[in-house]
Amino acid sequence: MRPMLALLMSLMALVMPPLTLADEPQRRVSPVRPETNVTRQPGKDVDDKVVERYLQGDTLSALAEARRDSLRKIYTRYPRLTAMALGVNVGDLLMAAFGQDYTSIDINAQLNLWNRLQPILSVGMGRAKSTPDDANYTYRGKWSPYISLGADYNFLFKSSPDYNLLLGVRAGYSNFGYDITDIAINNGYWGEHPVVNIEGERSHALWGEIALGLRVKLVKRWSLGWTVRYHWLFNYGKNEHSKPWYIPGYGARGNRLAVSLTLSYVLPFYHPTPPPKQ
């Protein structure tokens, strides 16, 4: 019996060890390279309180605050009310001088919030008079008001508020009147050549815009801004006798692009302290 038990135990010793080793968790050893085992030193300008918080274990918030502190020293953080610009858009006036058949002028007020977000409100008037060379009518758009409301984002928020690179959106609305006069009809087959007028037409329009612009300081508090606007009509009023050609604040109904040229007077609300030199 004993020899058989010993033989069995020997056989088990031969078979069991591989199975036993596979069940035990393998210990992994990661040797520490001496050159990576260095102590991190805080930056020169890091607040002692931030360092103390880091050493106490609140590492994430301490590192975030240290980064914010360092960024503040790179560029100025502006307050909510940084400045306000009061401007006059003379873009269409200028284009009318070069032959455009319609003109408009508007005044606008733009707030500068944190030197980033800049809401804008524009109110203006526009009119048109056009007798195309190869056409049989005269289109007279009456002086009519328009309003536009929107907001721009300043990509140069780290720089001085004197220079803005703006991208924004706007919505505009106008309610306007127009006449089409001296319409010469040529109905040659029936021998008819009447001249008729379509007068007292009224319409309205609602549109959206994406605007890309630049405003630069000229002298003292005066700035000049250029804006290219891509716009589209949400809806406009159609009448039994006409569709409007000119929409005040928008331009010609078929045009998708418009340009503004705005002369602004900037009222600064905040005079920043220049960041300390590094």
Partner: protein, 162 residues
């Protein structure tokens, strides 16, 4: 970066100049004229040797003179509300005898002065209120589009008699 404002200003000026280059093409018609098609047993048909004139047109001028047509434009007077057109063909029988087959198409409408666009200009549109036709060549007439505008689409269908 220093020259960025000047570059953008130059681009803005160039864009301003390009904005003035509008497309002045009228892609529709510059007048509104009803368009009538012929229909025979459900399919568009052609009439051979057809002549058409407006009743009361100066000099009795012809709109179509002995032509093979599948459709025709019928200009309407702007100073009236009823227009009549005479349509006829010369038919030849088996013995070679020629005879004239004629019908009168009468359109009742309301003319509407209309400004379409800067490119297409101003014209008269017509609201067709009623159509009748005599029955030598035609069985009946139908109105497809009552408001006739400067878009050249079918307004009337003339069904040929069987």
């Amino acid at each position: 970066m220093r020259h960025l404002p000047h570059i953008i200003a130059a681009v803005a000026v160039l864009l301003s100049l390009t904005l003035s280059c509008d497309d002045h093409t009228c892609y529709d018609r510059q007048s509104s004229v009803p368009l009538a098609h012929f229909n025979n047993d459900g399919a568009q048909a052609e009439l051979s040797g057809l002549s058409v004139r407006g009743l009361g047109a100066p000099g009795d001028s012809l709109l179509i003179d002995s032509s093979d047509v599948t459709d025709l434009h019928l200009p309407l007077p702007v100073n009236d509300t009823v227009a009549a057109f005479r349509l006829w063909c010369i038919a030849t029988d088996e013995d070679g005898n020629k005879s004239t087959v004629a019908d009168t198409l009468r359109i009742t409408y309301r003319p509407i002065a209309y400004f379409d666009s800067r490119e297409c200009g101003a014209m008269y549109n017509y609201e067709i209120r009623g159509v009748t036709v005599t029955h030598s060549m035609f069985d009946s007439v139908g109105v497809v589009q009552a408001l006739v505008t400067n878009v050249d689409v079918e307004s009337l269908i003339l069904y040929l008699a069987q």
